[in-house]
Structures are given as structure tokens and as C-alpha cells.
Amino acid sequence: MMLRLAPVLLVILLVAPILAGLVMALLPAFGYLPALGGESPTLAPWRALFAEPGICRSVAVSLASGLVATAVSLAVVLLYLAAVTGSRLDRWVRRLVSPLLSIPHAAAAFGLAFLIAPSGLIARLASPGLTGWEQPPDLLIVQDPWGLSLIAGLVIKEIPFLLLMSLAALPQLDPERRVAMARSLGYRPTLAWWKVVAPSLYPLIRLPVFAVIAYASSVVDVAMILGPTLPPTLSVSILAWFSDPDLDMRFMASAGAILQLGVTATALAIWWGLERLVARLMGGWIARGGRRQGETGLRIAGKLWILLATAIAFVGIGGLAINSVAGFWRFPDALPGSFTASHWVQALPSLAGPMASTALIAVVSTLLATTLALGALENEQRTGRHPSRALWLLYLPLIVPQIAFLFGLVVVMEQLGTRPTHALIVFGHLLFVLPYVFLSLSEAYRRFDPRWSQLALTLGATRNTLFWRVRLPMLLAPMLTAMAVGLAVSIGQYLPTQLLGAGRVTTVTTEAVSLAAGGNRRVIGVWALVQACLPLAGFIIAIGLPKLLWANRRGMQGVP
């Protein structure tokens, strides 16, 4: 039966390409790649790699940006959750943060770049009044050698992710009652949350946190936009070596991919050590029993940082919009002197093709992922088994750095003689779309009241009727949300499209990222804005369609 194959298929689809990709990166890293004349094992690629100028700095920036970005994002999210009182401001922040999740990393990074650049919005607003600058200062703010702007760009995008993951996990901890309990013992609310909720919440969001570390330490597109250039981060260097016309560079690129795997693993190991340290410090802090001290500071920080991060992200997107219609814009002026639609008009003909490609790849990979996820979850319901042990496999594509196994995968495809096509890219996207679709759908599926199914069965419905006429319609809203998440993930993919498409298939994302080097802000504004808006279409459908379909069904308006 097809259904029973779904979980197996799911695991094979996720694990096999990663393993194959890693093997095919590992072999060339030690000189074995017959297609390019590498027949015997050698350490030459590694010697070449470590002889690269600035390699140590590349590694250090990758490692540090991964760890710092994760630590900051997690801290901001936990501070916010601890300070939540259900006030209007809190609800407002929560509502604003969710759409941020759908904005692709590259678009958010461009937004930030336009904001903080020497001639960006912030400098314009502060000049010449505060700074006295009549001309853009000669400062390296974006792409700073320390990777600070890279870290900032990652933080504004990882906050929504970690926040939504935490919000999904929180209900099972019953935080209100825990806090109420601690308050009755004399703890101030924010301190109570830190001492009785945070220690139980962390284990529940640990895998997503690991995914953030892995992503932040190996990201390519954000690093190309915001990261340092001389030398760039390790991941960006690897991509450059891999794309080098000199095919011998591939051996070094492969060694770099394995090094990247090691860097991410090291980042995870360091984080693991930090977890131990923080757990001990927290343990001591909780045991000392302070009930009031420092409450105000924690509460204010909880509101301030998340507001700042959210505001930066939104103003950044606004900046993209302004740039895309800006005419002549003298430096210290806060707004352009004139507005024009010419950048859009010029870009439109070249937008159509990449937009169609983006949509096609996103829709097909999301539909495939949704079908597979539904199959696996439905099978789980019917057999009554809980495959909790297989769950960590879902995180594999999110924890193994993309750049480490995608090269190997390209090599595998080249060996098999597969030509770069849309189908191949869809397959590559599926690796990253599937985990998110599955995680987002499984939440709703497993929480679905089992009495509905029991009721339907005792009314004589078959398992298939139950699925098509009860479960699917009742779970329509969460299913559409999962699909919107899938679309957003696919639309934002840079590396799989670039590598598996061999640069011959352009999507909105690959086009936007490739414009980064050119530095024409008006054109970048157009493309990044399109990139930011595409995923929103999915979310608008996901929210609007159930409202429309169930307009006459009050019981379907809330979450089932």
C-alpha cells in the first residue's frame, strides 16, 4: 500500500541525498574524483586549502557569526517571552513578527544593508544634523570585516523563527499556571518566567536552535550581501572556488566543504558546552531564590530588543520600496527628490521569466512535500504508532550545512549525467521544504482531537472517507499554512537553485543575490521587494481561503 511507504520514502528522500552528497564531497577532498583525473588519495587539496590567504579568518568569522547570531536571537526571544504580559504592545509585536518569517533571508539582508550603509537611511536621517556629514562617510559598515552586519542580518531573521517555534512549544508547559505558582511564592512575573518556564522551554526548542546555529555558520546568500569580503566567510569562499573555471579548484572546494562541516560541528559542540555552563549558572541563580532583583531591567530589555529588531526589518523593507521608485536622491536628504517608475518598467520584462521559474519550483516542491507529509502523518494515525525517534532525521537537512553536501550532490548528478533541469532543482528544494512542511503540519495533525476520527468511524465511515471528508477539511487552515511555509522556504532558497541549476535556471532569489555585487540600489530594490512579496501571496491565500470557504461555519473560524 502506498500509504505505508510514505514514511520510508520520506526518510530516504531526506537522508539519501545528504549521505551521497557528503560522500561525494569527502572523496574529492582527499583527491579522488576520476572524472577530473583524481585517481589516488592525496592531502594536496587540504594543503592548498590551508595555504589560501585569510582562510583562518574566514573560519573564525563563520564560527563566530553562527554562535553570536544564535545567542543573540535566542536571548531576544526569551527576554520577550519572559516579559510578555498580554498587553496590546505584546500582541502587536507577535502579529508583526509572524510575517517576517516569510520574508526571504536575502530580502531582509538587502533591507538591512540599505538601512545601515554609509549612504543608507539611518545616515541620511542623522545627517547633517547629528553627524555633520555632507557626503556619505567612507566607512565599511555593510560587509564589515568583523561580520557584525552579517550577524545583525541573521538575527533579524532568526528571531521570528525561534519565536514561532517557542510559541508552538509553550502551551504544553502551561506557562500561566507555572508563573502564577511562582508569583504566589513571591517572585516577580518576569523573574518567575525565567526561573520556572525557561528551563523547561529550552529542551523543547533545542533542535530549532541547532538548526539556527548550522544555518548561521554556513549561510551563503546573506553572507554575500552583508558578510565581509576580504576574506569572505568560509561558505562564500567555497562557492567561489567551486564556480572557478579552473576545475582543479574543485578538489580544494571539496576540502572546504568538509571543513565547513567541521566548522558547523565545532559551533554545535561549543554551543553544547555553553548549554552546560548556562545550565549551571541558571541552577545557582534559581537556587539563590532572588525574587525581585533585576526584574525591571529584564522586563524592559524584553520589550526593547524585539521591537528594535522588528522595526529594523520592517523599515529595511520600506527602504527597498523607496529605493525601487527613487529618482535622483542627493545624500543627506531623507527622501528622494523625485520618484519614478522607470526601474520597475525596465525590470518588468526580465522579471517575468525568473518569477515563473520561482513559482513553478515552489509550487511543485510544496505540493510534493505536502503529499508526502500527509501520507506519513496519515499512516502514523492509522497504525497508531509514534515515530518520535525518526523525528531528528527531519532536521538533518537543516543541521548539515547546505554547502557541505550540495556540492557532492552536484558531483553525483554530473556522474549520473543528469542535466540541470527544473525537476532537479525541485528535488533539491524538497530537501528543505519537506522538513518545514512536515514539522508545521504534524503539530496540527497530532493535536487533532481523536474523538472526531472515532466518531466518524462509529458512524460507519471508512478510513479514506475519514481522511477526505473529516480530517482534510477540518485541518484545511493548518494545511494551507504549512503549504505557505513550504512556498516561502522554496522561494528563499539560493544555493540549491544556483548549484543544481548550474546557474542556468534563474529565480527571483538567485537574480537578486547576483545583483548584490553590482550595487545598483534601484534595481536591487525592485528585485528584493519582489522576492519579499512573493511568499506573502502564499500566506494571504492560507489565511484568506479558509475564511472564505468557512464564512458560514463559525466553528471553523478559530483553530480547530
Binding site: G384, R451, W452, Q454, L455, A456, L457, T458, L459, G460, A461, T462, R463, L466, R469, V470, P473, M474, L476, W550, N552, R553, R554, G555, M556, P560
Partner: protein, 211 residues
């Protein structure tokens, strides 16, 4: 037009980790209601889950459930012909009232629309077919749930404390309606409750699970 049905529970023993939870031996004739009483934790819901076909695999059950002489112990829930009335009415929120009533009707039922209309008139809800179930009152929902069960033409019925969430004034009325209809339909029923009044209104034998 009612065909008399019988439910025989033979030597039923449900155990968890080798420890017996529920032991039961009973015969329920057409239109009879057997009441099983007991405090929470006495295995009432486990017994219902077993009879309906939803017993979690961690439990072990021996004995036979015979419906009209046929052993149904090994059949899946949807082929047992046993209907279930829950604590909550559980009207499907995405279907109309009529849609809920039609959901359980056997595929071959002739003239479904007319039967739905008639069923609604029967419970004083004529013309409610197109309504959103969420707009019904608690008592109306409970009545629709009962009708949905009856229209699915079960051969036996399990009642899982179906009155416990109703207001006191509705409770008595609903009990009368449910037991009358089940008797009319000649259905053997098993009621699980911890409310003594439920048991008395049911008018059948009472088995107490409290040891």
C-alpha cells in the same frame, strides 16, 4: 421496520501489564440499556474503547463481543455496526446540520434528503438543515447528535456519559428522548456513567465497576 438486535459480551477481560482492569459478562437484548457505573479510573472508558474498536495496543483483551450472534471482536471500528454517543455532541463544524445527519447514513439509503428532513422534524428542528451547527443551542446540538447516530443505522449503541455536560433542566429531557428512541429502534445499548440518576432513568440493569 426495526430489526431486533442483541449484544452479547462474553467473558470480557481487559488487562494492562498483566493486571485485570475490567471483567464483564453480560447480554443486552433489543431495546435494553445496560448501565455500567464506576468512578473515574475504574476502566469505564477502556471498556467503551474496547467495544467500539479503539483499544490502545498497550491493553490486552480476551473474550468475545457478539453482535446478533456474530463475533465482532476482531473487526475494525467502522465495520462493527456499533454507534457511539459522546459527552460532547461533536457536530462536524465544517458541515451543515443536514450534512452532519447525512454523514453517517449508509450509502444505499434511499431518498436521503427526505429522511434528513423527517429526522429534523422529529426532534423539533424542522427547517434547520442548512444551519451552521455552531449556531445551535446546547440542547439542539445534543438532539442532532442523537439523530445522526440513529440515521447511521447502528446495530448497537454505546453511550459515554452523554448527559454529563448538559444543564440540569435539559438533562432529564434529553435522557427521556435518548432512551425512548433507543428502545423504539430496538437497539441494545450500554451506558457508561457515574451519575446515579442516569442509571435510574435508563431503567435497565446496573453493573458497578467499583471494586
Amino acid at each position: 421496520m426495526t430489526i431486533p438486535h442483541r449484544l452479547d459480551l462474553r467473558d470480557i477481560c481487559i488487562s494492562l501489564d498483566g493486571q485485570a482492569l475490567v471483567e464483564l459478562e453480560a447480554r443486552i437484548g433489543p431495546g435494553e440499556v445496560l448501565t455500567v457505573m464506576g468512578p473515574s479510573g475504574s476502566g469505564k472508558s477502556t471498556l467503551l474503547a474496547y467495544l467500539a474498536g479503539f483499544l490502545a495496543p498497550t491493553f490486552r483483551a480476551t473474550g468475545q463481543v457478539r453482535l446478533d450472534g456474530r463475533d465482532i471482536s476482531a473487526l475494525p471500528a467502522e465495520r462493527r455496526g456499533i454507534g457511539l454517543l459522546f459527552q460532547d455532541p461533536l457536530l462536524f463544524p465544517h458541515l451543515s446540520v443536514a450534512g452532519n445527519l447525512r454523514f453517517g447514513m449508509p450509502r444505499a439509503t434511499p431518498d436521503k434528503a427526505a429522511r434528513v428532513e423527517q429526522a429534523l422534524a422529529n426532534i423539533g428542528l424542522a427547517g434547520f438543515g442548512d444551519r451552521d451547527p455552531a449556531t445551535l443551542s446546547g440542547g439542539q446540538k445534543a438532539r442532532v447528535a442523537l439523530m445522526r447516530l440513529l440515521l447511521s443505522a447502528p446495530s448497537a449503541v454505546l453511550l459515554d456519559e452523554p448527559f454529563s455536560k448538559l444543564d440540569t433542566h435539559l438533562r432529564h429531557e434529553m435522557r427521556q428522548l435518548v432512551f425512548d428512541r433507543l428502545r423504539e429502534a430496538g437497539l441494545p445499548s450500554l451506558l457508561v456513567t457515574h451519575d446515579r440518576e442516569d442509571a435510574e432513568d435508563a431503567g435497565g440493569r446496573i453493573i458497578d465497576l467499583a471494586h
